[in-house]
Symmetry: C2
Subunit: 581 residues, 2 copies
């Protein structure tokens, strides 16, 4: 994994590719690499859909090795949604396969000379870029079926649906999972629109004949990986809760905490929560029984195994087991408590290539605008279908909550830097509010998941309803996340184990050190995390973002959230200290 | 004119008003006053449509007096279009009438407790605020008819159409002209949306029984006004060209200069220019002959008299004589060379309460997106009608070019700070490019009309195609405009005479000095202009705008504009010196 594949899409001639050594980028992986390339090579003032933007797809530093949980892939660019730098990452098989093919990154550059759509195929023999106009308009599901017909079943796909082709700012980049379904998405920030602007519909990866990536110190690596796996299995959340219920184990917990945003963030508690909880979902899946409904991993090498499969009443596949964020976005946030409808919305989003968080928040805003009633699942399905078709209304919806709020003159729009807030109300989880406000990515729970100490008593305990301690919490988690998960390829859920178990944290440090052959300490990694955040902040500053963009919308400071009747209390001047380490 | 009328619309109870002396705001008028109030009283991070924004309506400092040309009124707020401070001004009768009623400003504050729409009536006996839900959805023309029925013909109206009620970011505030038609608009920046958010449909003004405002030094004032009028009549542009052809005298001049943006800024020359020029328009109007087609003023006290009336083939009134900016926006920029169609678009915009510049630019972007063909006048009319109706597509259009570009994934969108560029391509008039880039208002020709020295050889000559001299030109014009026209109530067109004729400039200084009774020099006025710009810049900075927002879209630096095949050459670091005086 020591090469960068650059594909210049035009406009001067047909697409052509070059390969080059990592050079100055050596040592970076995942988000560290995407942000390094974007901040060095992309003009902060360029149009996100123009030829000067670049789409960087980078496996994590440990991806393609036997390190457990190392299957996440990063997609970076200047974001059409936030106007700042963007890294969105996804699970699925693509990261491991791309890494084994020897690529630290694919960089899509330039812009096709016309509206030809292309496919890219990469295997041990090289890279093929071909016009693929017959794929135009295909949903991700049909697209992957066509790729299976053409290339067999041992592939992984990275693709966009119609939303990406239409360059919608909520368009995602899909990655196939272990069942070769396009269910794992680099969802946030419109990375799919940038792939669409580059004219690339799908990148098909086949690593047949390629080997697992080898650590520099195999003995130490093997030992560290053993301790690593043991640590993950030992922790209650990674060893029990997530495998049993998937991420949706959170619905009852967050609802109980009064932090489950309901009806476009009007309340923190949803009457219908029990109908859509992880427990109910597991029960439903088990009762319907289809093949593969037991929890499993989204990629090979996963030991947490929080994924599952959702079938309808007749045992027909609908979608992956719906993740917590989507259960919330399409559920509570729109007043919908119907699991079947939510699973259908999840499937539509995955098929059209749309970010489920952004879509749920957007429909919430549309409902506040009176386009539909809260709780109307049929209307929500219709709205997502409009987005997939690209009707006028669908174009609005597909461009996300901020645009939808502007178009319909809505004041209560839960976004930061133009990106919709995820499934935790920042008034009832003030630490995540600090992350939403200050993250370089716009509102993003994964950038610094303060829900840990605020709600789950993981990595300490910080009162979620008070401002005290939130800055430090969000700062430390943002630094750690930038390097330990987003750059290594590790799944975010390892955070629970490494925050609570010092020996598991050390196992991860050892794993990185043994893989790279360098004597790396926890302090070194902290410094790397800070360096990544600094690059991103610098890009954003040059792109025009300021302290004013590191704020929640004013109504979170004014409207008290039931049931705790609390407003967001963290002071502006304290928010400005998050990156002052 | 020494009182501020504050109307608190709610939400705590029904609307109520208070009157207060100018206090700290004494000495400010027009834009100086709106920007002072907004920058002091409005939180830069508030939602533009929320209760914390304020809409300030302020006559110029000399409005209501006998000073010739002093009839412009300023409307200020935090802009829903730019996210920064906004002042848009309009001609018509409202300024003189409001000033004579004794008000330096009306400030609409708060937000109605429900969706009741209100009307405000002000005469010598006081202020009446009443629910007026029967006016909901009315176009400005029908609305004014109803006001005439209720209050007689000696009124002036300040109102919004359906676009303002729908809080569209391109919604204008209409003022009635001398014929009591709603043809004069504070168009830019969505001030109409803020009036809509305040729940005020119309402010009806009746100054019967009120007196002309009196200068402190009547003798000196009379003398200065005489010199002032003589100076305006003497200059070729204010004395001849504008009276003969109206503002549309510019079409042939700007087209000849290769600076007439055509088909969404793809070229600087329009084949159909002659069909829509001021000369052709005057010929057409004269041939059709209806009553009032001769040029006249938009307000009493005007000596330039560049207004006219446009009739259809059957002699029926269509709209005011269409202004140059609109001729361009709905004409060349959309590839349309049909005067009748353009007049119809002008009428629709005025009726719905939409900014014609923003609408023309938006339709150009929509045409680039493939929503309609360039040159298709019927499609353009249909699109504006959609905006008036508030269909999904209409909502997009009504929110302006930047939003339309985002929704349809268009890269070439001619905006700065989210506001559409007017009728001069910044590549072929580089001085106006500097104004577009750096104005506190977003792209705005009136903020520093460098077309003077760049094209018209007024106030000197600066080569329009080269970067040299443009910074100083745009800086000086922005300072002068902020105080000499935008704050005094003087029409911008006086600029031609005061730039070329030192004695006419001195007459204006004397007019201000005699009116206020203070010994004011040209230097004092320059300092006041700088102070206004500084207030506005400070507000914008706190609202999150930076140097990155003081830039043209990147494509103006990369795409050469025919026929001169020139790109925008002024360097970024030089743009940052505009306010470094």
């Amino acid at each position: 994994m020591d090469k960068i594949l650059r594909i210049n899409m035009g406009p001067d001639g047909d697409p052509k590719y070059t390969e080059e050594p990592l050079g100055d980028y050596a040592g970076f992986g995942g988000r560290g690499l995407t942000s390094a390339i974007v901040s060095k090579e992309v003009s902060p003032l360029c149009h996100p859909l123009g030829e000067d933007n670049k789409l960087v797809i980078a496996p994590g530093l440990l991806s393609g090795s036997t390190a457990a949980m190392s299957g996440r892939i990063s997609v970076g660019c200047k974001s059409p949604l936030t106007g700042g730098i963007k890294e969105a990452n996804a699970g699925g098989q693509a990261s491991q396969v791309l890494a084994r093919l020897g690529y630290a990154a694919i960089v899509l550059e330039g812009k096709p000379k016309d509206d030809t759509l292309y496919s890219v195929f990469i295997n041990k023999d090289g890279v093929t870029i071909a016009p693929a106009n017959s794929l135009k308009g295909l949903g991700n599901y049909d697209l992957v079926e066509k790729m299976k017909e053409a290339h067999g079943e041992k592939i992984a796909c990275i693709s966009i649906g119609p939303a990406g082709e239409m360059k919608m700012a909520a368009a995602s980049v899909a990655c196939t999972d272990m069942e070769l379904r396009p269910t794992r998405h680099a969802g946030r920030g419109g990375v799919g629109a940038v792939m669409g602007a580059k004219g690339v519909k799908v990148i098909v990866l086949d690593d047949a004949g390629m080997k697992m990536r080898q650590p520099k110190d195999p003995e130490k690596f093997k030992e560290a990986n053993k301790a690593w796996v043991a640590g993950l299995r030992k922790h209650a959340i990674t060893g029990e809760s997530l495998p049993a219920y998937g991420t949706n184990v959170l619905t009852n917990i967050i609802n109980e905490a009064g932090a489950f945003p309901t009806n476009n963030f009007i309340s923190g508690r949803f009457d219908g929560a029990n109908n859509i909880s992880g427990e109910t979902q597991a029960e439903t899946e088990n009762a319907r029984g289809g093949k593969g409904s037991a929890t499993h991993g989204c990629h090979r090498g996963c030991v947490i195994r929080c994924s599952g499969t959702y079938y309808d009443k007749d045992g027909q596949f609908v979608s992956k087991q719906v993740e917590y964020e989507t259960i919330w976005a399409h559920g509570a946030n729109c007043g919908i408590d119907d699991l079947d409808a939510i699973a259908q919305l999840d499937r539509l989003d995955d098929d059209f290539g749309l970010d489920t968080i952004e879509m749920g928040a957007t429909i919430g805003v549309a409902m506040e605008a009176g386009i539909a009633e809260f709780g109307d699942a049929k209307a929500a399905i219709r709205l997502i279908k409009e987005a997939g078709k690209g009707t006028d209304l669908g174009r609005i919806i597909g461009n996300g909550a901020a645009i939808t709020g502007k178009v319909f003159g809505v004041e209560r729009v839960p976004v930061v830097k133009g990106q919709a807030m995820p499934a935790y109300d920042p008034r009832a989880v003030q630490g995540i509010g600090v992350t939403y406000a200050t993250s370089t990515m716009g509102a993003d729970h994964t950038a610094g998941y303060s829900v840990t100490a605020n709600i789950l008593d993981v990595g300490g305990t910080v009162d979620p309803l008070k401002p005290e301690g939130q800055i430090e919490l969000a700062r430390n988690l943002q630094i750690a996340t930038a390097i330990l998960t987003d750059s290594t390829g590790m799944c975010l859920f390892i955070a629970f184990a490494i925050l609570d178990q010092p020996d598991t944290f050390q196992a991860l440090v050892d794993l990185i050190a043994a893989f790279t052959g360098q004597s790396i300490t926890a302090n070194d990694l902290t410094e790397q995390g800070k360096a990544i955040l600094k690059m991103e902040r610098d890009f954003n500053r040059q792109a025009g973002l300021t302290e004013a963009d590191d704020r929640l919308p004013e109504y979170f400071k004014k409207e008290a959230l039931p049931p705790h009747n609390v407003t967001f209390q963290v002071k502006d001047e304290d928010l400005d200290q998050v990156f002052n380490w």
